[in-house]
Symmetry: C2
């Protein structure tokens, strides 16, 4: 409850917003943070507060340091609670590096997965695109990219309700000859995989075009691409705003087409896409954006509940195990 | 004159547009292509047509094949003409791979530069951002990134008129500890370089924020980032258009605020940013986007003329030579 730029000012009203707008008869919330602050505002009956006092991980703490001083903080205790099987999912707007480090150590990665990936659901012209990794893994050999494809498939099936999602591999061109040797190897692995509906290489323009349901890339490229998109949206919003307030005519016009602008705002509002699953863990962990407000936090809770109610973790574990088995059979045959 | 999706339908009116809007007393144009088609439409006195008949490099030709069959084509002959010192700059909307291959072989790279970079000038909230590489070099060791910084600086000085441009290195966070070892090495090289106003790591959001005048990255990341931006702009344009035509109110509103939308359109119109210099060659070569129309092609000509009138190539050559000298001195001392 203490994470993110706004802390309880976002998480408390975010939780209320979620509870008011969803049927929560089969959901309960375990809140970790400063009890004296939280209990003033929380009235919902299906909430239990776990007092962690003033112990928090600051936004600027390095993961290594966080691991040393983490015990007793709201983030650490919330993740421990889930790791011990007392809850099905954890949500936090706190320090991403610490969140990833705690989750990996306390919850652990699914067998065969080295390091979880950060997954985001981005808007596109047709619907939405599941994209991963968005920053957790800067170094991605082909086998890791194959795992991302499987993880992305499972996310798409649950959150986009797509039965056999189209998987694309991000490159600098769609032709088979484009890109690096590493991507060519990943291409071969994905093409060979019977579980995947692999559609080949896709480009940066395909993210918002809806060419693929899932786009796979390494964490460096994914992070730059996601932030380029965020920056472009802010730039356009700024230019539009300047334009609308540039003359009386424009101001009047704005009043008439407010709804059109609202549609755009909703479509591109990052709060409506908030809640990035850290996929590859044995439990569900959702990262809410550090600057998210109540609306964004409520959305992150919604992602957590949806994933927790699905057979998502089992599905991923089975598919990863099949691939691992395939690889070890192949090694025996060689 | 034959390159791009529209061929002469873009290049001929594009040239006319440029000539009509600029003082061309000290500029002349050497046009390479099918004379019988071009001469029907070109009336300008400072144009000479070099007939290359129907010999063209198709958009889908691989660079290796293009090199074999290139002789006599409009693209090859235009680049040869510049390479031989008969003209100062070449502009083409044709096949990028072939253009790069011909330019490297015929014109040659500046001493110390392995492979030219593709540079683009992107809009930002304050002004514009020079970004490179956008796809020519997928594999970029730290020394290459340092060269890109120098090349970007020279482009910024001429095209943005910035005396001491701020140089940023694209990463997944601004903190010094973020990113790969390769980027850390490049950081050290740039920081050490007395010629550069290096401001450190920048993120994807900084491209449109105007944090830096020049943003340096490898060709893989740059290409994905540029295309993500293009895709995001198309997505927003689509959403806005749908919104504006969704109701009579919105349609009326649109009439009032057409100017505001026009401002946005102009700001993000890729035609207004068309003309990507291939930097690192001994002559000026400008790549116009394959799908550019007359407006875009005229803009690419304008970039070519501006660079040709500057001391751009000499400046880059000197700065690269200084660094090479520094490196070899350092090697001697070690």
């Amino acid at each position: 409850m203490m994470g993110g730029d706004l802390g309880v000012d976002a998480t408390v009203p975010g939780l209320s917003l979620y509870v008011n707008n969803h049927d929560c008869r089969d959901v309960s919330f375990e809140l970790f943070g400063n009890k004296s602050i939280i209990e003033q505002h929380i009235k919902s009956q299906n909430c239990t507060i776990h007092d962690t006092g003033k112990n928090v991980i600051s936004a600027s703490e390095k993961p290594a340091k966080a691991l040393k001083i983490g015990h007793g903080t709201s983030m650490f205790e919330a993740i421990s609670w889930v790791a011990q099987g007392n809850a099905d999912a954890v949500v936090s707007s706190g320090n991403t590096g610490a969140y990833m480090a705690f989750s990996k150590i306390l919850i652990g990665a699914i067998d065969g997965i080295e390091r979880p990936a950060i997954v985001s659901i981005l808007p596109n012209i047709l619907n939405s695109t599941v994209m991963l990794d968005l920053g957790a893994n800067t170094d991605c050999p082909p086998t890791k990219l194959l795992q991302f494809a499987i993880m992305g498939k499972a996310v798409s099936q649950v959150l986009q309700q797509v039965k056999n999602p189209k998987i694309g591999l991000l490159n600098i061109g769609t032709e088979r000859t484009k890109g690096t040797d590493l991507l060519e190897e990943a291409y071969v692995l994905m093409e060979k995989s019977e579980n995947l509906n692999f559609i080949g290489f896709v480009e940066g323009t395909d993210i918002t075009k809806g060419t693929a349901d899932v786009i796979v890339t390494d964490g460096f490229t994914g992070n730059v691409s996601l932030k380029t998109m965020e920056g472009t949206i802010r730039y356009i919003a700024h230019t539009l705003k300047t334009g609308f307030s540039s003359s009386l005519m424009s101001k009047i016009g704005y009043l008439f087409c407010r709804n059109a602008v609202k549609t755009l705002k909703n479509a591109i509002d990052p709060r409506n896409h908030n809640g990035a699953p850290l996929v590859g863990l044995k439990k569900i962990a959702i990262k809410s954006h550090g600057n998210s407000d109540a609306v964004g936090f409520a959305n992150a809770i919604s992602v957590a509940v949806t994933l927790a109610k699905s057979g998502f973790i089992d599905d991923i574990s089975k598919m990863i195990a099949e691939i691992e088995k395939g690889n070890s059979d192949e090694n025996k045959n060689n």
